[in-house]
Symmetry: D2
Subunit: 346 residues, 4 copies
């Protein structure tokens, strides 16, 4: 059994890591940290895990942690992550980091959107943890930068079309909608039940959301040239789920079936990507609690645009599930271990 620790266990991605690890037969959760809730059993912070884990949260003390576990999920905010991760690597541990700190190839981009980077050498070796694109590199990595939730849903949908060169990279508009768990478990008025329920709004409009450069890095990599996108996130009155609606102008004939085949072929052997047929549309509730990404493609002949709709559970494939998928690859486990649960509907 691999001894695994969660650094930053009290947030929603931390709790979700614990939930998924409960069902993973190759690992044992041996440590969890929470700065704010030290000495509190994880099952008190997350009562759904009662009887499932006896782990008690401790302070994030690297010296102690490296005695307790061999594999680490780092689920703390950016900046804090790059302070912690080097100490883990130097002790010979493997790490999946769920923050933005190690996601960028070009640290100038990171520093423009975030802050000065304090561990550039480690950033240079980190592998971007989207298994459908970087599987082999992930297998060899000791540090994987787990992708952002929005970038995951968008990159998987657009990738095959960009690689095939069938869309105009300058025409991409992404209208994305996320469940509220993406805003985290911190106390705040803006995410109170009464503020969110029965309501809907956009936020960070105008290309200012920090996932924008991560999306563009991924798409540029796939297109083989710089891609700039319009990206607008919205807040949905539901807990889990992201749906990205993506618009792009076609550079080829508007043959819906042929375009859909590009997706089907690309993801034929992928365990967690489901390409939908005909006029079926994905829905967040059909991937809830699972590691699936469901994608549909439609052509609007009137405007010669393609419309992609892509859904994930933002805290599974968009965070904790993908992190476990990455761990599975890094540790030589079956890639789907711990992630085989069917989605929960209704």
């Amino acid at each position: 059994m691999l001894r695994v620790a969660i650094i930053g266990a009290s947030g929603y991605t931390g709790g979700e890591l614990a939930r998924l690890l409960c069902n993973h037969d190759r690992v044992e959760l041996t440590a969890a940290t929470s700065r704010a809730q030290q000495n509190v059993p994880l099952a008190d912070i997350y009562p759904h895990l009662r009887n499932r884990t006896a782990v008690v949260c401790s302070a994030p003390d690297v010296a102690q942690l490296i005695e307790q576990a061999d594999f680490f999920f780092c689920a703390v905010p950016h900046k804090t992550a790059m302070d912690l991760v080097p100490g883990l690597l130097v002790s010979g541990k493997k790490v999946v980091d769920l923050s933005a700190d190690f996601r960028f190839r070009d640290l100038r981009v990171y520093e423009h959107w975030y802050q000065p980077h304090t561990a550039p050498q480690i950033a240079a070796e980190a592998v971007y943890g989207l298994p459908e694109i970087h599987r082999e590199a992930i297998r060899q990595a000791r540090l994987v930068a787990n992708p952002g939730c929005y970038p995951t849903s968008i990159t998987l949908a657009l990738g095959p079309l960009l690689q095939a060169g069938v869309i105009d990279p300058g025409s991409i508009i992404i209208d994305a909608k996320s469940g509220t768990s993406g805003a985290g478990r911190g106390a705040s008025v803006a995410t109170l039940f009464c503020e969110v329920t029965d309501g809907f709004r956009a936020y960070k409009v105008g290309g200012i959301h920090r996932h924008t450069p991560e999306i563009e890095q991924n798409l540029s990599h796939l297109a083989g040239r710089p891609v700039t996108v319009s990206f607008t996130p919205h807040l949905l009155p539901l807990s889990r789920g992201i749906l990205s609606t993506i618009y792009a102008s076609l550079t080829v004939a508007a043959d819906e079936e042929r375009l859909r085949d590009l997706l089907r072929q690309r993801y034929r052997d992928e365990p967690f990507v489901r390409v939908l047929d005909d006029d079926r549309q994905p829905a967040t509730q059909y991937v809830r609690g699972s590691n699936y990404c469901d994608i549909a493609l439609t052509v609007d002949r009137r405007t010669n645009r393609v419309i992609l709709t892509s859904v994930i559970d933002n805290i599974v494939k968009g965070a904790s599930g993908q992190a476990i998928q990455n761990m599975n690859l890094m540790c030589g486990f079956d890639e789907t271990a711990g992630l085989t649960q069917a989605p929960l509907f209704p």
Copy 2:
């Protein structure tokens, strides 16, 4: 007191008309029809209206109706509407029709998207009931075609920019999201609570929603030339509210404040349009139950696109509230009569 009737009172727009008319001091609801629930008190169909109306639903018998009322809201489905409306007009009554039957200037468009039109002469005299654009014509009309919900939110947001010629009409992409009341009160599996709650999906993707030609008619009128748009509707897990996120390429310098001024100037005297300042974003919950349309404008300098976000309550400004606003104009009442309630939040 004006005697008013609702034809098709058992649907959500019918119920909402009744709710709003309860608070209108110039009218009296004297008749309501429901094919499926004849002889049932309206307050039994809509228990929130208990003690507020004694009207009992009858069959939609025009001969009887013209004895009972002088002004009619026709809230039945398209096709049924064009069967009923001529008989009301011929009896000298005024009508606001909430279906699509009289919304199109070019009946070939109507017939392409709907069905053969059986009352073309009446269609020719109908006025499209968006008061912010056709106020004077509405005052003179005896038949007003009440706009669709999506077209209302979209036309109000885009109108001033199209008229000013500052955006490329060929670049317009509209990603719209509607609450579930828009799907009506008919029994159906797709709109059951368990199918909709905690979920989100697109529908009628690819430019096939019937509001598309209505949107394009409005925008073409405002632009002074044909406009074709990409329009994708989505279903929100909430009852009331539409948010339309609209993207367009700028043909002028990206001066956010100047563009916002176009909206502010245009709607300065409008009682029901609120243009937001700075980086504020509208939210459906801030217009709930009211006749407001809240609009924000943001420029994405990175892509030289403008992003408009526009919200309405789909069954108030998107249907029944706008219908009453039209009645007020047609009857010489204060335009805001019966519509002065502040939105309900939370």
Copy 3:
């Protein structure tokens, strides 16, 4: 126009007072206070009120407030209320206080459940603001203690049966469920969207909720002898609404229609109480946004118990609406002024 101020305007009851006052034609909102958001326009704190009020929040400075208004709604927490109210009364102002500070006839009870009382003389003159029971005293009062939300829904339902002596006062069990707005607008993890949505729980189980003694005070008054109840509150995943399900053993024959008549007769002339017929059941969504209390009565012949179900909107009839009803009585306005809106459904 009566000049009115809201002390503590940033909470949900403060916002709701402002919403309702917007539609009251005899008053003008001239001041609002918020310790945390001084100098912020109320319409920025509550964007649904944009264009409806120009009031800017100030610090709660009594000397300044008495210059600005003649009638005060005090919507601050208990303890703070009894610090502020005396200064207003001494200046000749009238006050409706929405806290618990002036609700108790016996200050020993208050001090047992809350804290030492610092204004006992003023407490002695305060009138408990349930108009259906204390209407005449309210008309004469300069200080009205606005009832708690749970006590309102429960007292209105049980009162007529207790007064008629048809139930055993020792058998009363109250299972009450409240929407989340009752928990206030303070930042807290427990009331985050993701913690509340799609979930349900009891809280303060075992007779320890502070509304227990207020309920018992009311019921004892009506029964003419001490009444002790079991009261269990629950948290509903919705914003507005309380439903109380109340069980009591009958001391008379189980004649449902006769018992229901006790309610009907008692509330025949009440503008805000609706007694339901036959087997109809009230629902929170049928009173949303309104000042109604809907009550149904059912007899379980198998156990000889009566079951009452009573619903209100917790921030209207359970707080701000009832406060305005009290103001109307205290100022000689029509009792329903500003409160005539029909409920919002769906």
Copy 4:
């Protein structure tokens, strides 16, 4: 691999059986029936199961079914169940029936609340499938009557207290609240999203819900004498979950810790019952998607009553999960096989 069939797969309990069976390593889903959706792949009816099952729904033809499977879940309505089950048993198959048809020991009770029983001999051999009470009999059974959702949550909570004789059986009042999935997947206006969301109501008030006699059968069995209860169900605006709040008068000293110990001792070795400590309260969201029943006990010293709160996921422990637990016992599998997923929160 055991070949398993679901008769009545298109309802929510049918879909949930399929979801859970996907994760069961000892069985294979080989057939599913749906009268209304013959020849439709189950994954089209339930898109969350895409890629997880290739089963296509057929008509419920017993002759064909007995060729296709060896174990049957019968998830059709009562009456239909007793028409189908005899044919399966006679072919040597084992059956878990999820309807009410085989739950009653006394068929006069069944016939009073339902209809004439057409398979009384088979009813006589059926075992009531609450494993925590009838585990050994279930192991030997070929027909298990899966309990109702409300009765499961209530019986597990009250059983230990009734068996210990510490409460007055005549004083039991049960106020229960269920998510909307309990109302099934049939098209109906009453369970539309807009009718249920943001609302709450009681239904079948007055002891008339058909689970009443099933609850009383269970409690009478445990108490060793006839028990009559007050039972009031309510409809929650959420998909999954039942919370039952149960009140009873104590016949012993109000020693909370000693009473709680009765529960703890009773369920110490049960894999799916979690008894909460101290003043913790269960919540439906902490058992979502799992087979757990969480129970808390509180004493109200003021009234000498005990209050039990008990939660389950109504379509897991309240239906499909418990059915699989029963299958596991009937087939000699590990009792928890296929049911080990941790609850999904948030």
